[in-house]
Amino acid sequence: MSRSPMVGVTGQLVKILVLSVVAALAIWAATPLVQAEAWIGLGVVIAVTALIFYIYLSPKRLPAKYLLPGTLLLIAFQLIPVFVTVSTSVTNYGDGHRGDKADAVAMIQAGAVKEVPGSPRYLLSVAWEGENTSDGKLVFLLTEPGDRQYLLGDDQGLSPLDPGSLTVDGDGRILAAEGYTVLSRAQFNAHSDQITSFAVPTDAGGIRSTGFDAYEGVSTRVYDEGCDCITDSETGEVFYADNDNGYFVTEDGTRLRQGWRVNVGLDNFARFFTDPEVRGPFLSIFTWNMMFAVGSVLFTFALGLACAMAMNHDRIRGKTLYRILMVLPYAMPSFAMLLVWRDMFNPDYGLLNQLLGLELNWFGETWTSRAAVLLVNTWLGYPYMFLICTGALQALPRDTLEAARIDGATGFQAFRKITLPLLLVSLTPLLISSFAFNFNNFNAIQLTSAGHPFPDGSPQTGDTDLLITYTFRLAFNGTGVDYGYAAAVSMFIFTIVAVISGISFARTRNQEEIYR
């Protein structure tokens, strides 16, 4: 293949530039890995960089040159998360089961400290790691009153703080620290339960709070490697390690709250089918999830098709204006409109109750709540169906319809026997995608009903919850975080969607053969 010399030069320059950027990025990425001695990570960085250089410097591998950027991103942020999900789903990872066994032992010992005469005291400020209180973890910012040493205490232990990054008052109490949000008095009181149960593990035992001070006490619970157990010197109870399930337990079954992360095999999956506390809500959520997805597709398609049929006529005046107005919901930011709808359903001053003269507590009853989310989802989704139906109608062969008219079919008969089946052939793949999308339509539920209403005694499973909102609550809802189980539910959702989509796509292919 001959090339003009100019092109060769430009192409080479671009290639050199891009590869230099890659090399620079690789060095930047490798530096912290070398410092942390993370050799596996470093190996991956080197391998990926070598692969990039190999592919772009080689004269062959043409398709690979075009596919590499997307493939690398796909592997890093789509495929690896899937694998991590799978591996998390077979663990008990979650609150109380975050670290390894040594962490758990340290936490348990620190949690049972008692103040004894002569215990060192500290001035205490409580803070959140990060810039706000909604995430990050609780930490103690401690001041040793004598020589004014500033210490950071977290669930790993003590570490010194740089005095330059702190603002302190006259006594030496820390008022502000870079990278931390110090709790005000009011916040301190609001979180007092969390603060009093928090403990910093130390060699002697642990540091706990007492009022606005902290003391370093001696632990009443001591771990003994010989029996792999923890003995409480006050009550005399002995907690033995259950290494299969990752917690300490007495012979009569009392469990310590703090455990560690272990592989639990398929326990999380078995919970769907065996644990009655999970099985009941799970089945009802699943049933409603199917109803929601099917209902959403059905209603949006019906309304969208009706509009497209109505507009599919030469003698309609103002067609363009109608179209723009109908499609407007599609162009509005859906997350914001979902919240607006939520407020339109407000039982006290919501627009719907006002307009219709009703006094319904929409999200307070199971069926009004379900009707409400379906109505909202129809509003958001029908413009899309309108657009695709319009496109598909315009592509229909005109002569078939005319032949039907000549044979004496009424408008409705022609629609049912000819137009609809033909439309369905081209639209079924899109309807299936829409089903898959709505099956996991997190925003539509979370931002409107947020799962409400919650029946008495089941704070985790609301009547309008989809599997995905349920999963999200399990994984990220402050109390009782359970990543392992949430990951298992994710796997389950994926299987359902994949199976249903697979079957439907296979059936569509058969249909196409009939009509073509």
Binding site: A38, C307, A336, G391, S433, F437, S490
Partner: protein, 284 residues
């Protein structure tokens, strides 16, 4: 045989009126609340009843980081959708023009992996980025670059399929004659194919942009500090607090401002949209 006016045309207008009313009522409500000087949920009504005022807009910028959220959203969604359509276009070109070993398998596995929506792996993404942030704080939580990378993870996928279908319709003879004239593959891609596929690039870009502006679940796990939020995380947080009834007017003003870029691009691309959507994209 002609039916009467109603069976021919009248019912069409009736359906259209009902649909337009259904479409517009919430939007009219938002507009009226946004300009309602009282600005609480309890004071709002479908049509403006309390006069007209810009006070909600002013308050929105004064009391929240709305301007910053807006900028963040435009930057994140803009950069991520631009890069993602470029990457998909590269891949679609390879799938459409080259025949190589593993082509069919790659196309099929792409479809399968896409069925595992990224937010199902939200727990995993959270765990992964906790680690990433320790080594590279520039990519960790509360950064644009980290969130953009997560979004780009899904770049190959629906849009690649959509584009591949469109690329296939462009005659191969064009490539062949360019090759005869001595053009390289890169030149064919950048000088011949890309200009011809602008409509599909525009549509996939728009869909990706809309999707990312509306994306809430990943962003909410990812962006927690106030200044780095996107509009979705920021506005949802604004009304999620107990003050939501009081801030309803501000919220509606924010909604309208958020709609501006989308509606603008939408109007601009109107003629391409019907065609592009039937190609197989989804927004619920």
């Amino acid at each position: 045989m002609k039916g009467n006016w109603f069976t021919q045309v009248g019912w069409r207008h009736a359906v259209a009126w009902v649909a337009v009313a259904f479409s517009l009522i919430p939007i009219v409500f938002v507009v009226s609340s946004a300009f309602n000087p009282l600005g609480t949920l309890s004071s709002t009504s479908l049509l403006p009843a309390h006069g007209f005022s810009m006070s909600n807009l002013v308050k929105l910028f004064e009391t929240t980081n709305f301007g910053q959220w807006y900028l963040n959203t435009l930057m994140i969604a803009g950069v991520a959708s631009a890069v993602s359509i470029f990457i998909s276009a590269l891949a679609a070109y390879a799938f459409s023009r080259f025949r190589f070993r593993g082509r069919r398998v790659s196309l099929l596995s792409l479809l399968l992996i896409q069925m595992f929506p990224q937010f199902l792996a939200i727990v995993a993404i959270f765990l992964i980025f906790t680690q990433v942030g320790q080594y590279w704080p520039q990519l960790g939580f509360n950064t644009w670059s980290g969130l953009i990378l997560v979004y780009l993870g899904g770049a190959l996928g629906v849009s690649t399929w959509l584009m591949k279908g469109f690329f296939d319709t462009i005659p191969k003879e064009l490539d062949e004659s360019a090759t005869m004239d001595g053009a390289s593959h890169n030149q064919i891609f950048f000088r011949i194919i890309l200009p011809l596929v602008t409509p599909i690039l525009a549509i996939t870009g728009l869909l990706a942009f809309i999707g990312m502006v509306n994306e809430y679940i990943i962003a909410s796990v990812f962006l927690t500090s106030s200044s780095d939020k996107t509009l979705a995380v920021g506005l949802v947080g604004m009304v999620a607090a107990n003050t939501r009834e009081a801030q309803f007017g501000m919220f509606c003003a924010g909604t309208l401002l958020t709609a501006i870029p989308t509606v603008g691009v939408f109007m601009f691309l109107q003629r391409y949209i019907v065609h592009g959507l039937t190609g197989g994209a989804v927004k619920g």
